[in-house]
């Protein structure tokens, strides 16, 4: 485990893979819950976990460098289902990248179980993994100035759903009415790291 100092009060822990990052994240949450780790923020990302607001970075670095991280626990049982219309403006482009027709894109996407690798970009935006690597797609060459809320999109190895209208460069394959973020709701975020997700196709409205 490689541990990089980030300023004087944070550490960035590097994992060898997304799966190892998931295991590391689970272990760090467990340690914080049992009181053996103090950290204000534990932020998983693609290949790293950031610990911000830690007490004694030097001691924690030594501890984590030597630590054996147990394999990630089984994923949560509950699956969040997100109804989706596969009607996005980039559906044909994605179909071309995948070398299939647009119906097949919908079938493959809806037939995949995803999980939230990490969140970022906007409150409630999850980076969902689950598609095999040969379905990676590039970002659009020119980002859109406005992507509508509820847009279901692909970029690199990830699927995401835009929680609110914002600029964005992902390939839009569909849309949903599901509310990803509502700060009046508890919890505000529908998706958080580790959440399992399935997209359920619905007819065009």
């Amino acid at each position: 485990m490689r541990v990089l100092p980030v300023g004087d009060g944070a550490l960035l822990v590097e994992a060898a893979s997304g799966e190892e990052a998931r295991a590391l994240h689970a272990e760090l949450l467990r340690r914080r819950a049992e009181g053996t780790l103090t950290a204000r923020e534990i932020v998983p990302a693609a290949r790293t976990v950031l610990l911000d607001g830690v007490d004694d970075p030097a001691r924690l670095t030594a501890e984590l460098t030597a630590a054996e991280i147990p394999p990630a626990p089984p994923r949560a049982r509950d699956v969040v289902e997100i109804p989706v219309r596969y009607d996005g403006p980039d559906l044909a482009d994605v179909a071309a990248h995948w070398d299939v027709d647009t119906r097949e894109v919908a079938r493959i996407h809806a037939g995949t179980e995803f999980s939230v690798a990490f969140c970022g970009f906007a409150p409630g935006f999850g980076y969902l993994t689950g598609l095999p690597r040969h379905y990676d797609v590039p970002r659009r060459a020119t980002p859109r100035t406005a992507v509508p809320a509820g847009a279901v999109a692909l970029a690199g190895p990830y699927t995401g759903v835009y929680p609110r209208s914002s600029p964005g460069g992902w390939q839009l394959i569909g849309s949903t009415d599901t509310v990803l973020w509502d700060h009046a709701r508890v919890p505000a975020a529908l998706l958080s790291p580790g959440t399992r997700v399935r997209f359920v196709p619905v007819g065009r409205s």
């Binding site: 990089l4 100092p5 980030v6 300023g7 004087d8 009060g9 944070a10 960035l12 204000r40 923020e41 534990i42 932020v43 998983p44 990302a45 693609a46 290949r47 790293t48 976990v49 950031l50 911000d52 607001g53 990490f118 969140c119 970022g120 970009f121 906007a122 409150p123 409630g124 935006f125 980076y127 609110r164 700060h183 505000a188 975020a189 958080s192 790291p193």
Partner: protein
């Protein structure tokens, strides 16, 4: 019943509600937000008898005008500026009584960028995830003020401080930011690392609550490609493809894919909030304690 509210008569260029922000939610993509110049926000709160975390107004360059519906005590700090009540000059950086219905005007800064206005009882808009701060990146919290906005005020908890004036640091003529290198300093050439900590940058007018952008020597990368997204901290100095360092401030994104060459020590960040465009910036390398 007393109507404890504040009417915004002139919102100014960019005035937002700020408190100590909403840390602890970065894993959901929620920025920390909060006052850019935290010590000043705490100071003006203390002057009017508020706890340090009460919500204040953060103004940008040209202040704002406010009309309280009931008598309040206010204190204005941060970037020095003229302050008047009903057109008569009143002290800056000290508690001032404003009668019900009187017009409080916070003028254009003499130097610096951001003013902080505390009102006895604090601004009492509904909190979002435990904070009343406006987050300009994610849109959480109250929208930036507009002319005619009416802000509810809380009940004062304690009498104002009995002081004539409280000392405040002057806005920086030169912004010196002590940095600790890393975590991605190995993504830059030795020449870039040398330039970063020895040359002078200037504050770019494109700076905002998300980041202090700089103009100056571009920093050349030692390796091409993209970094997979990773967590970002307050004060991270990220280097986008144009090679010009950006210092992450309170509304910074929680994850990012551009390499972080160094991290600014937190005590130096409040001064960054007050560095006007064009101010020279120097990054000074420090060793870890």
């Amino acid at each position: 019943m007393t109507d404890r509210a504040l009417v915004v008569v002139r919102a100014g260029a960019l005035t937002t509600v700020q408190d100590q922000g909403r840390p602890g939610h970065a894993h959901l993509g929620v920025p920390r937000s909060g006052a850019l110049d935290g010590p000043t926000a705490a100071l003006v709160n203390r002057l009017v008898g508020n706890p340090p975390g009460a919500a204040v107004l953060e103004t940008t360059v040209n202040g704002c005008s406010l009309r309280p519906r009931s008598a309040v005590t206010v204190a204005v700090g941060g970037a020095p500026c003229p302050v008047t009540v009903e057109g008569r000059p009143v002290p800056w950086g000290a508690p001032v009584r404003v009668p019900a219905g009187a017009l409080l005007d916070i003028g254009t800064v003499v130097s610096g960028v951001r003013g902080y206005v505390a009102v006895s009882g604090g601004v009492a808009v509904d909190p979002v995830l435990g904070s009343r701060s406006t987050d300009l990146l994610s849109g959480l919290g109250p929208a930036p003020l507009t002319d005619g906005t009416v802000l509810p005020l809380g009940t004062p908890q304690a009498p104002p401080a009995r002081v004539d004036a409280a000392p405040q640091p002057a806005p920086p003529a030169e912004l010196v930011l002590r940095v600790t290198l890393g975590p991605r300093d190995d993504w830059f050439t030795p020449a870039a690392l040398h330039a970063f900590t020895s040359r002078t940058y200037r504050v770019s007018p494109a700076s905002n609550r998300i980041g202090l952008r700089t103009e100056g020597p571009t920093l050349e990368r030692a390796r091409p490609g993209e970094l997979p997204s990773e967590g970002m901290v307050l004060g991270a100095v990220q280097v986008p493809p144009d090679g010009r360092p950006v210092v992450f401030l309170a509304d910074h994104p929680t994850t990012g894919g551009y390499p972080v060459i160094a991290v600014v020590r937190p005590p130096d960040l409040p001064a960054a909030a007050q560095a006007a465009p064009g101010t020279p910036v120097r990054f000074v390398g420090t060793r870890r304690p």
